[in-house]
């Protein structure tokens, strides 16, 4: 019942953020995995379901304009719950960047990672309240 990875990918299939909690993968394997998953998910049409099985992962994905948010989970995890979690994450990013777009994420890679870290740790959901998740990020912004 864990989240194995979180990926943000654009419409062209370029990875924008990648975060793994499954440490069994080496860097090369990760790259290969991303390519395979992206190829699978991006070709799907809207009316197909948001869950794709790949290797021993289930990938739950959601598309927001030109950005795809993907989460790899194991068989025990609640797929619908993860779908909701992705939405929650997008709302949080949206609140932070006010209308988040691909460029925001690209140029603020570290902040994006920070926000995701506040929401997901060790493959589990930590925080789903937007304000709570953003407080540490806000404080940091003030310091630097």
């Amino acid at each position: 019942m864990t989240i194995k990875f979180v990926l943000l990918v654009n419409k062209q299939g370029q990875t924008r953020v990648a975060k793994y909690t499954d440490s069994s993968l080496t860097t090369d394997e990760r790259r290969a995995l991303e390519a395979e998953i992206v190829r699978k998910c991006l070709t799907r049409v809207d009316k197909q379901c948001n869950i794709v099985e790949h290797r021993n992962y289930k990938v739950v994905y959601r598309r927001y304009a030109s950005l795809f948010f993907l989460m790899g989970i194991d068989a025990e995890e609640n797929e619908l719950g993860i779908l909701e979690m992705i939405h929650c994450m997008v709302e949080t990013l949206d609140k932070w960047f006010s209308n988040v777009c691909e460029l925001d994420i690209m140029f603020s890679l570290d902040t994006t990672h920070h926000i995701i870290d506040e929401m997901v740790a060790n493959g589990c959901i930590v925080e789903t309240n937007k304000a709570n998740a953003l407080t540490p990020v806000q404080l940091l912004e003030r310091v630097s």
Partner: protein
């Protein structure tokens, strides 16, 4: 001077080709290396941020690992944060650098700034290794009881990682985890529930102790359900669905196998199942979890009915995600309550045809679980219909599933033959060989269906000749060859009930086979099958024997060795009218167990060895067969007198019949095994175990073909002999060596190791030995593989130095030796 992160990203974005991007990255990486070498502290965090970006693009970044450690050790929060981010992203727990960070983590965990502690907990939770977990567990344990909810939640998740790495620390965390359930903060509650779930997964016995918390969990769940609007954790009108899902999951673990605990939660589960608003995704997520819990615990019947009804509603939902999870859940509960799932069979079968592959896969799994003797006919028809229209990527799965279902549940043999032939027609390319073999085996053993099988095979092959895949060709040609006489003779009129009569003449059958032979796309293996079928038909169609001989002889010059071999061998065989009919007789029924055994290579080999040793008749077979084989070989070489056969070894006369049987075994073995293997091992296997050989000869070759390559004695001293069997690898420069160790002494050689060294122009790969003990009096019982790649192959010959150590009767022995007697060419 290195670029700013923003500029680097811009540059990368402007790249038009991958090569350009590589250049930019290479240049920047070089600049970064330089900066790291100069110990430039001011831009360090910017540089590590760039590394993270480079890493995300998939380029190597190992050179910056030490920099992240330096950042973590620095005092400023922004630097620390980038450092920890780098740690989580650039490193993984296998890297030894990680050891160096333990101390900084310890300092940060004891920091007074909650965000510094939070960072450290987050990093530890994501990457900690077993050693770190052991060192830092006391800090995590302390933080679990911290007054600050921000730290409590992070510590709880960190703790579950620590426990996963070091399970023996379970004791101390086990008692603290439930105290988190008293917390008022939702996120701490969530983390606490997740920690308890993790502990129960690690140590299922703990669930017993945690059952006393069921009432509390139910209370929390009820308050989430019934409480008013709480804006903080509201998702579309549902109060913290994530926490509800987690609690339901914990209830599932606690209620499983305990009637009391299940009783305590029945009410609240019923409340969830009836009260949750199913118009939203969040609500469905909870219902989905709730249904799984109800089906897993010892719940009352009424509750189960409620759950199954919810699943029914899910299946009928238009949203594909919901249907997916419904199928997923049905697949999970089919073992618990098959009846409930059977009720939805029609819907599930519909889902196999869904446009979405995720749903199709799930549905197919489920159909597979749903099939039984009662519904196999209808379900297989549905699946076959679908096999025709489904997309290519799905066909292999579906075809194999159908084959397995038919094999398992077929109500009668005729239906079995029909269904499998149908699969072969529609998706022959994806059907595994053993399904074809099983089909042929079934036909052989069903004496009353021989005629039916050959008529069906003829009809099918004639109708689908243009599209027939090798698997169909093989099965059909085999049937035609074996039972061709039943197709054209007086037998052909005896059709079964509901079967169309076939009118075929000998010429039709031969024409069809010839068409297969001449089709340019026919594979060599298929041609081999056809040639064998033709050889058999010489006795079945006596009037056409001459023209058949001509067809076989036409391939004497085939460029495909196996095809040529068969053509030549059969031509010779047919030159002896005295033995032909006996050799080519119908195959007798085969014991399925013997056939199955032959599919297990190792078992078959040992069984064959045992049988060869114990059974005198098998030995006679062997002698007779080899004799016959040698006789034929002799005939091939020179047009010797017919006496070739009787002149074969002493056993020939009394065991004439045995020899004939053995040869027919050989033919059948080749025939059914697809003829992949060489004739010699096939003959040996067939002879050693006639029954196993009948079907499995090439499928079960002896583990190592005896004639693999030259053998040299590499080392001999005392009781130990090391022999090398050499074989060329993928290229002439590669040599595969199989070292066999023999012990002629009376005591075992224990703790045996063999090491080897080669000159520097060669590369050596050494596999571990198959055992560490060389038993006394053994020859080749222990083996070890070596692979040598000689980069100067042809200029420098192979040499090798060996270093061998073992202990003999408690005394350790160390030997060294040089191997320079590799044969030329290696």
């Amino acid at each position: 001077m290195t670029l700013r992160l923003r500029d680097l990203i811009k540059q990368v974005r402007q790249c038009k080709t991958a090569a350009e991007e590589r250049d930019v990255i290479a240049k920047e990486s070089a600049a970064l290396r330089q900066a790291f070498k100069e110990q430039d502290g001011t831009y360090r965090h910017r540089n590590v941020a760039k590394l993270m970006y480079i890493h995300m693009l998939g380029y190597p970044t190992h050179f910056g690992q030490m920099e992240t450690l330096k950042l973590i050790a620095s005092a400023g929060f922004p630097e620390k944060r980038v450092g920890y981010l780098g740690l989580m992203i650039l490193l993984d727990e296998r890297q030894e650098v990680l050891m160096l960070v333990t101390n900084s983590l310890k300092n940060d965990l004891n920091s007074r700034n909650q965000y510094t502690v939070g960072l450290a907990l987050c990093a530890l939770g994501n990457i900690c290794s077993a050693e770190m977990a052991r060192d830092l567990a006391p800090e995590v344990e302390r933080l679990l009881l911290s007054a600050n909810p921000y730290l409590r939640k992070k510590a709880a998740l960190c703790a579950s990682r620590v426990l996963r790495k070091v399970p023996d620390m379970l004791e101390s965390f086990m008692e603290k985890a439930p105290s988190l359930l008293e917390d008022r903060s939702h996120s701490v509650l969530l983390a606490g529930v997740q920690l308890m779930l993790d502990i129960c997964a690690q140590q299922p016995a703990v669930a017993e102790a945690y059952r006393i918390h069921v009432p509390l969990l139910c209370k929390i769940l009820r308050s989430l359900l019934m409480g008013g609007f709480v804006p903080d954790y509201d998702v579309g009108g549902i109060n913290d669905p994530f926490l509800q899902v987690a609690i339901l999951r914990l209830l599932r673990v606690l209620g499983r196998g305990s009637a009391d605990a299940s009783d305590a939660m029945n009410d609240v589960l019923a409340q969830v199942a009836t009260n949750i608003d199913s118009s939203r995704n969040a609500g469905n997520a909870i219902l989905y979890e709730c249904v799984q819990t109800i089906m897993a615990i010892e719940s009352i019947g009424g509750l189960r009915v409620l759950a199954v009804n919810i699943l029914g509603r899910f299946l009928g939902n238009k949203d594909n995600n919901i249907r997916y999870v419904a199928l997923n859940t049905l697949a999970r509960i089919v073992g618990v309550d098959a009846q409930a799932v059977q009720r939805h069979r029609a819907t599930v079968v519909e889902c196999v045809k869904d446009a979405d592959i995720s749903i199709r896969r799930r549905a197919l799994e489920l159909v597979y679980a749903l099939v039984n003797e009662g519904n196999i006919r209808t379900l297989t028809r549905e699946l076959l219909d679908y096999l025709d229209v489904c997309d290519a990527e799905f066909k292999p799965d579906l075809a194999n599933k159908i084959c397995m279902l038919v094999q398992r549940y077929a109500p009668d043999k005729r239906w079995y033959i029909d269904s499998l032939l149908q699969v072969l027609v529609q998706a022959g390319a994806y059907v595994k060989d053993d399904a074809c073999r099983a089909l042929i085996l079934l036909v052989v053993n069903a004496a009353q269906l021989h005629g039916y099988a050959v008529r069906t095979a003829f009809r099918t092959l004639a109708a689908h000749f243009d599209t027939a895949q090798p698997s169909l060709l093989m099965v059909a040609t085999w049937c035609l060859g074996e039972y061709g006489d039943l197709l054209v003779g007086p037998e052909s009129g005896k059709v079964l009930e509901g079967e169309e009569p076939v009118s075929a003449s000998e010429a039709d059958v031969l024409g069809l086979l010839e068409a297969v032979l001449q089709r340019p796309t026919t594979s060599p293996a298929c041609r081999e099958y056809v040639l064998t079928a033709l050889a058999k038909l010489t006795t079945r169609f006596p009037s056409s024997a001459e023209s058949i001989k001509g067809m076989i002889a036409a391939y004497r010059q085939s460029s495909q060795l196996e095809v040529q071999t068969r053509s030549v061998e059969y031509s010779r065989l047919l030159a002896f009218p005295a033995i032909g009919p006996q050799v080519l007789e119908h195959i007798p029924p085969v014991e399925e167990s013997a056939y199955d055994a032959s599919l297990e290579p190792s078992e078959a080999a040992s069984a064959a060895a045992a049988q060869a040793a114990s059974s005198a008749s098998a030995a006679a077979d062997l002698a007779a067969l080899l004799g016959l084989d040698a006789g034929l070989g002799g005939l091939d070489a020179a047009p010797a007198p017919v006496a070739g056969v009787p002149a074969a070894p002493p056993a020939a006369a009394p065991s004439q019949a045995a020899a004939v049987n053995a040869l027919s075994d050989l033919l059948a073995g080749d025939l059914l095994g697809g003829g992949g293997g060489g004739a010699a091992p096939a003959a040996a296997a067939a002879a050693a175990d006639p029954l196993a050989g009948l079907f499995g000869a090439p499928a079960a070759p002896p583990p190592v073909p005896p004639a693999a390559g030259p053998t040299i004695t590499a080392f001999q001293k005392g009781p130990l002999t090391v022999t090398f069997r050499l074989a060329k690898g993928a290229t002439p420069a590669d040599t595969d060596i199989l070292a066999s160790l023999s012990n002629s002494g009376a005591a075992p050689l224990e703790a045996f190791t063999l090491q080897a060294a080669v000159p520097k122009q060669m590369q050596l790969k050494l596999d571990p030995a198959s055992a560490a003990v060389v038993p006394p009096g053994s020859t080749g019982a222990v083996t070890q593989r070596l692979h040598v790649h000689n980069t100067m192959h042809g200029q420098k010959a192979l040499v090798m130095r060996l270093r061998i150590s073992y202990s003999l009767g408690g005394q350790s022995v160390l030997e060294q030796g040089e191997v320079a007697n590799f044969p030329p060419g290696f």
